[in-house]
Subunit: 161 residues, 2 copies
């Protein structure tokens, strides 16, 4: 079979890619720094936010891990820290005795309620304020496409190999 010659990035592709990578890196760093005053990282915020929106503020570990985009293992480790901080508790699952629930405590609720306004202000000031309404739409479309494609590629990777 013929060897594939690399199709390097042209100027405009490179510009788009670099611009995106650089901004994303710095943006997430800034948001993380902003959250530090609430003793939270982006990842922990994400976990607590999802949990806070769940019915009864309780969720199965696996589901929480999935929606928060962290590995089960990582969630398990963070959980220990958050339990120690008094933000969440564990609860055994009656229907499936392997399983367990993460339940947000009142203290955890207060913590996320305190952090949320600052975080939203951060997201606005550092990101959204740069976008027109049209930019928002364009961007959502583009990145939804990216996610959809990643999922497709992920699924295909099973059939092929």
């Amino acid at each position: 079979m013929a060897v594939k010659r690399t199709k390097w990035l042209n100027t405009s592709e490179m510009a788009a890619w670099r611009s995106y990578v650089v901004a994303s890196r710095r943006l997430m760093d800034a948001l993380d720094v902003d959250l530090q005053e609430h003793d939270l990282s982006m990842a922990d915020y994400e976990v607590l936010a999802h949990l806070s929106e769940a019915p009864g503020r309780r969720m199965r570990m696996s589901e929480l891990a999935e929606t928060s985009m962290v590995s089960k293992s990582r969630l398990s480790h963070r959980m220990k820290v958050m339990v120690k901080a008094g933000w969440v508790e564990r609860e055994v699952c009656a229907e499936d005795k392997r399983g367990s629930f993460a339940v947000m405590t009142e203290k955890g609720w207060r913590a996320i309620v305190r952090a949320a306004p600052d975080h939203v202000a951060s997201v606005r000031s550092r990101f959204l304020d740069n976008l027109t309404a049209k930019d928002q739409d364009d961007l959502a479309k583009i990145f939804d496409r990216v996610t959809a494609r990643l999922r497709k590629q992920y699924l295909e990777s099973f059939n092929k190999n």
Copy 2:
């Protein structure tokens, strides 16, 4: 002073933000996985790529850290690993005896040359292929704006506090 009431995100703001966050997370994860076959992380790739493009394939540690967007400390740690892998060497700086150069070895060069085509293909297939030429331009403009604003905010944070 009046208390600031939080301006929560509306539907389209939320869509843009979530879409971006989710896609970015998954995209970077995918690129990292793709690079694993070359024993590289995105961060290490970035460092080696910058170094490989420098004149003489050598750079001062501080400059390399800055352009690669990693802390000096982190670079120092990674450096130990990369030296052990035989990809780079250290060289003392004659002009400023505090300083030191990172110099890419022939082996390091071969490693990055081997990885680059796959990485570029990855970036294309997982990201750029989702973008029209116009998308590329829009995106570059938006994220350049984000970076510019972050820098401005960073500078302002000194004057204020």
